[in-house]
C-alpha cells in the first residue's frame, strides 16, 4: 500500500520557480547572444562603456567577448539543471521519487554543476586579467567554496538516490 506525505506548499512553489527560472535562463541567453553579435561592432561597445580606442582597450573587448561566450555556454548547462530538477519535482508530486531515473537525473545535475563551477572559475580569471584600475570589472564569478560543496553534495545525493532506489526495489520484491 503506498502512502504519501502530507501535501505542502513547497512543491507548487518549486514547480513555479523552476518554470520561471527556465524562461529567465533562456532570456538571459538571448541577451548574451545579442551582446555577442553586437560585440564585433566594438565601436558600439566602446562608446557604450566609454572605453577609449587603445591597445589596452582592445584586450578589454576581447576579454569581454570571451566572458560573454562562456556565459552563453552556461545557458544550456543551467537549462539541464533546471529541467532535471523540474522532472524530480514531478516524481515527488507523483509520490514516487525513489527511482533509478532520479539518481541518473541527480548525477547529470552534478556534472552540469561541476562544469558551471569550472566555467565560473575561468570567467573570474578572465575578468581579473582584463580589469584595470580605470576599468574595473565586477563579475559574480570565480572560486566558490559553497559552489564546489554543492557539486560534492549533488554527487553524494545521486549515490544516495541510487542506493535508495535499489533498496526500494528489494522491498517491493519482498513478500
Amino acid at each position: 500500500m503506498s502512502r504519501s506525505a502530507p501535501s505542502s506548499a513547497v512543491l507548487p512553489i518549486a514547480r513555479l520557480a523552476l518554470r520561471v527560472l527556465i524562461v529567465v535562463n533562456w532570456l538571459g541567453g538571448a541577451a548574451i547572444a545579442v551582446l555577442l553579435i553586437g560585440m564585433p561592432a566594438s565601436q558600439w561597445i566602446r562608446s557604450a562603456l566609454k572605453i577609449p580606442s587603445s591597445a589596452e582597450a582592445g584586450g578589454l573587448i576581447i576579454g569581454l567577448h570571451a566572458i560573454a561566450a562562456l556565459g552563453l555556454v552556461a545557458i544550456p548547462l543551467n537549462y539541464l539543471v533546471l529541467k532535471r530538477l523540474l522532472e524530480i519535482v514531478e516524481t515527488v508530486r507523483a509520490s514516487d521519487p525513489f527511482v533509478a531515473a532520479n539518481a541518473d537525473r541527480l548525477q547529470a545535475i552534478a556534472w552540469a554543476l561541476l562544469a558551471l563551477q569550472i566555467l565560473s572559475v575561468v570567467i573570474g580569471a578572465i575578468a581579473k586579467a582584463i580589469a584595470t584600475p580605470a576599468y574595473p570589472i565586477h563579475v559574480d564569478a570565480g572560486f566558490s567554496v559553497t559552489g564546489w560543496l554543492a557539486v560534492l553534495l549533488t554527487f553524494l545525493l545521486a549515490r544516495v538516490f541510487a542506493e535508495g532506489a535499489l533498496m526500494r526495489d528489494d522491498l517491493e520484491g519482498t513478500v
Binding site: 526495489d169 528489494d170 517491493e172 520484491g173 519482498t174 513478500v175
Partner: protein, 77 residues
C-alpha cells in the same frame, strides 16, 4: 537466482488453491502469486512462518537451491 519456490508442488499435494492459501495466511493473492512464480526478491520470516503453518510443512519443503536451473534461466535471457 538459484532459489526455487516449490509452492505449486505443496499446494498440489494438499489439493489447495492459491486463493485458499491466501485466505489462510492473510496475504494478498498478488503477493502469493509473486512468490509462487519465483519473482519475489526476498521473503519475510513472518510470511514463511504463516505459509509453513498453513501447509504443515518445513521451510526446506518450500524452498530449494537449484544452481543448474538458474544457469539455464540466465543463459536463456
Amino acid at each position: 537466482m538459484a532459489i526455487a519456490v516449490k509452492l505449486d508442488d505443496l499446494l498440489h499435494d494438499r489439493r489447495m488453491t492459491l486463493t485458499e492459501l491466501a485466505d489462510k495466511v492473510g496475504m494478498t493473492l498478488a503477493n502469493l502469486s509473486i512468490l509462487k512464480t519465483g519473482k519475489a526478491r526476498a521473503i519475510r520470516f513472518s510470511t514463511l512462518d504463516a505459509i509453513c503453518d498453513a501447509l504443515g510443512c518445513q521451510p526446506g519443503d518450500l524452498l530449494r537451491f537449484e544452481p543448474a536451473a538458474a544457469r539455464k534461466r540466465s543463459a536463456s535471457r
